[in-house]
């Protein structure tokens, strides 16, 4: 099917070949029963996991449009949106900017979702499957333009409140320390 289509495309001109190749072949692989990569997420120590830990640079789904869309759906369904909005933040920090408090590598984000973080991020470990967490990881990274641009979702199903992930500029992620609660630390009792 694919080669026959290409044969015809040769006669139609090289520009069409390029478009056809991009649009039609090879079709993206969809995995419906994926196991999470071998990275020992439970042992993840924040900010130390790098791409050599068994998790690919973009996690298992960073270039998978289907999984990214699933992640976007889960982001709403598990009320992530309630705190992080569409990436701009609210009760929780923004996810579309360059600043990452607990690490920006896929395994860091996996651990954040699975185990929670001390300043208000709840643990979703027993509420959601590992595969779904990885889909969320991919989507969360796509909010700041990480991962494959072609795979990122290109529209919102609801009211437009921000540019689609596919239109988002790719931020260069940086680690930040969480803003101190009290600065300078106030001493209890009589000064």
């Amino acid at each position: 099917m694919c080669s026959r289509f290409a044969d015809r495309a040769v006669r139609a001109g090289t520009a069409v070949i390029a478009i056809a190749a991009l649009a039609a072949c090879p079709r993206e692989r969809r995995t419906f029963h994926d196991s999470p990569p071998a990275a020992s997420v439970a042992a993840e120590s924040a900010k130390s996991v790098r791409s050599d830990s068994g998790v690919s640079r973009e996690g298992p789904y960073g270039d998978n449009a289907y999984a990214l869309y699933q992640g976007k759906t889960l982001f709403a369904a598990f009320n992530c949106m309630g705190c992080h909005s569409h990436g701009g933040g609210g009760m929780g920090p923004p996810l579309m900017d360059s600043a990452w408090i607990y690490g920006y590598e896929p395994a860091n984000i996996y651990a954040t979702i699975a185990n929670g973080r001390p300043n208000g991020m709840p643990s979703f470990k027993n509420r959601i499957t590992p595969q779904q967490i990885w889909e969320l990881v991919a989507y969360v990274r796509s909010m700041s333009g990480q991962g494959s641009k072609a795979a990122r979702t290109s529209r919102n199903d609801e009211m437009e409140v921000r540019a689609a992930e596919s239109q988002t500029t790719t931020e260069k992620p940086v680690l930040v320390t969480p803003p101190p609660t009290v600065n300078p630390p106030a001493q209890e009792g009589h000064p």
Partner: protein
């Protein structure tokens, strides 16, 4: 620039609503508009705040008195000399989140509660520079920060019986010895794992400490509790959803309107068991009438915001209640926003006034609701004497005084899969928590508020305990005129605007009225302003280091001089973009408030400083 935007918006609004006459439409506003000249001497001679005490120079609770007048009888600082006001001393609290608390002054001491982690600072005003005497840290759970919908604010403490009493973000009510700073008692009254937090200032009436929970955005079940002042023991709990027995509705309960009468409406007006996660918290203000022995307060919005998931009236959310403080027993209730569509909480303040009404004296409470109407209710019965728009309203047409019903505009009803545009007022309402004041000298109320509209679209949402239960995409924008805030001088007898000051940003600070005929308020850019109580004319302003969303107070220092104090430190729902470092590219951030506040980070940094001003 903002004026241009406003014109565009106004045109847009005309296009959308050309056949409708929006309630309260005022068109383009000049900076100050004197709409109804005051009679010489004002109307004050006929109006007085109920339940005030002679001026003693103190400020022992955020609302100053039980009538919630926020009026200081001090007049050393007045219209003729306020221009000479200068900072007397300042104190950086070290906490850089929204500072909504009122400083409390008792004798020669001042007390201030910060935003999370809810530090309590005590200053000795008799010492040079008002030196710090002690600091108390209640050590709230760090995870409580993730349960607070709209910045980790605290609206202040109250003083009684030698104790400073306030609520922490993680649901502890603490009583601290006012002299030593030692904790006297601590009572845990809520659970952050259910989405509950606490941000309101307690009201202390006789031997009861009245507190309620926040979390209308988290699927909490709202309540008001009465704690024992001596021990902190919970003496009663009035739920705001559920059967009458737990709402503390009994034989004495006499709602004025038929729509609020019937058995177990807190269950029957909900589908299935959704009342158990239906919201209706209490995080605003409570007033008290000693003559009737009743407290008055409103409950919050229902959850989730998506109204299609909760068909019915959703009682007793967004409802005004009168209760006996000793027992919590409900006397009357008036549901202001049945089946609320737009996050119109009923928690805003009520000022208790005795006014001339049809030839006799009437005891009323005046309540500026989120839905854009100023309500005057009879304090004894809950009858609505008037409900008049104080902002531009498109979400409803009027309030029927015979039935008490709010006539909704059906074209602004949110429906799944549909974007509803130009809903005015926006979710924070015509006015949010920021409390008004009242001067018996002018007879006017001074109402700080916003001028915002919104587009919204519901989304399906599931309840997961401890996570937001909202189900609504929102993007807010400036209302007609382009300015996002107002301070309005309101005549509570005629129910009309006397003067109005337009501010570029929402006026998220409280106001303070004084016997010097000066009204104080702060702006989100950081200006602390004094205006003429009769005309709204600007008399003085001072730029603080951060946006002001706190409550100004006035007191007489140990040296006999008058001081005015306010916290500076931007944040709250409106200032979340700065306090939380949110991304302006997402207009739905902070439940849609960021859409209207993109320029705030350019005009103010975070802050957390106490300012005290005097003439010398």
């Amino acid at each position: 620039m903002s004026a241009l935007c406003g014109c565009a918006l106004a045109l847009l609004g005309c296009g959308v609503d050309s056949e409708r006459t929006p309630a309260g439409a005022e068109g383009q506003e000049p900076h100050i508009m004197l709409q109804k000249p005051l009679p010489p001497g004002g109307t004050g001679a006929q109006i007085e705040a109920a339940a005030t005490a002679p001026e003693d120079g103190q400020w022992i609770r955020p609302a100053k008195d039980f009538a919630s007048s926020r009026f200081s009888g001090l007049n050393e600082i007045n219209t003729s000399n306020v221009a000479q006001l200068k900072p007397a001393w300042t104190f950086p609290t070290g906490v850089l989140r929204g500072q909504e608390a009122a400083p409390i002054v008792v004798g020669h001491m001042m007390y201030v509660v910060t935003a999370y982690p809810n530090l309590l600072y005590a200053f000795d005003l008799s010492k040079p520079g008002a030196s710090l005497k002690w600091m108390y840290n209640p050590k709230p759970l760090t995870s409580s920060q993730g349960e607070a919908c709209c910045d980790v604010v605290n609206r202040g403490a109250s003083y009684a019986d030698g104790k400073i009493i306030y609520a922490t973000l993680d649901n502890n009510v603490v009583a601290v010895d006012a002299e030593s700073g030692k904790e006297v008692w601590r009572t845990k009254v809520g659970d952050i794992n259910k989405g509950e937090t606490m941000t309101m200032a307690p009201l202390i009436v006789k031997d009861r400490v009245l507190v309620g929970n926040s979390g209308g955005e988290m699927g909490v079940r709202g309540w008001l509790k009465g704690l024992d002042l001596k021990t902190g023991a919970v003496k009663w709990t009035a739920m705001h959803t559920g059967p009458d027995s737990v709402v503390l509705i009994g034989q004495s309960f006499k709602p004025f309107y038929k729509k609020d009468q019937g058995a177990d409406l807190g269950v029957k007006s909900w589908p299935g068991t959704t009342w158990q996660i239906g919201g209706g918290g209490v995080w605003g203000w409570i007033s008290y009438d000693p003559a009737l022995d009743l407290v008055f307060y409103g409950s919050s919005n229902p959850g989730p915001w998506n109204p299609e998931q909760r068909p019915g009236d959703n009682k007793w959310t967004s409802t005004f209640f009168a209760r006996h403080p000793e027992t919590g027993e409900a006397i009357w209730a008036y549901q202001i926003n049945p089946h609320d569509l737009h996050d119109y909480d009923g928690v805003n303040e009520s000022i208790l006034l005795d006014i001339p009404w049809n030839g006799s004296k009437r005891g009323i409470l005046v309540h500026p609701d989120r839905n854009g109407y100023m309500y005057a209710l009879d304090r004894a019965t809950g009858e609505v004497l008037y409900a008049k728009p104080y902002v531009h309203i498109t979400s409803s047409d009027s309030v029927d005084l015979k039935t008490g019903e709010l006539a909704l505009n059906p074209t602004k009803e949110p429906k799944l899969g549909k974007t509803v545009r130009d809903v005015c007022p926006a979710a924070p309402g015509g006015k949010d928590w920021q409390p008004s004041s009242f001067s018996p000298r002018t007879g006017l109320m001074y109402v700080p508020h916003q001028n915002l509209c919104m587009d919204e679209q519901p989304t399906a949402v599931s309840y997961i305990s401890g996570t937001p239960y909202v189900g609504m995409d929102v993007r807010m924008k400036p209302g007609i005129g382009g300015n996002r805030g107002f301070v309005t001088g309101w005549n509570p007898v005629t129910g009309s605007v006397v003067w109005r000051i337009a501010e570029p940003f929402p006026v998220w600070s409280g106001t303070l009225a004084t016997a010097g005929d000066v009204v104080f308020y702060g702006t989100m850019e950081g200006w602390f302003k004094a205006v003429d109580a009769r005309t709204g004319t600007l008399l003085w302003k001072y730029k603080t280091t951060s946006g002001i969303i706190g409550q100004p107070v006035a007191y007489r220092g140990p040296d006999g001089k008058e001081y005015v104090a306010v916290m500076s430190g931007v944040g709250g729902w409106s200032g979340a973009i700065v306090a939380g470092g949110l991304d302006p590219r997402d207009s739905s951030a902070a439940l849609g408030f960021v859409g209207a506040m993109r320029d705030l980070p350019r005009v103010t940094p975070k802050g957390g400083t106490l300012y005290v001003f005097s003439l010398r």
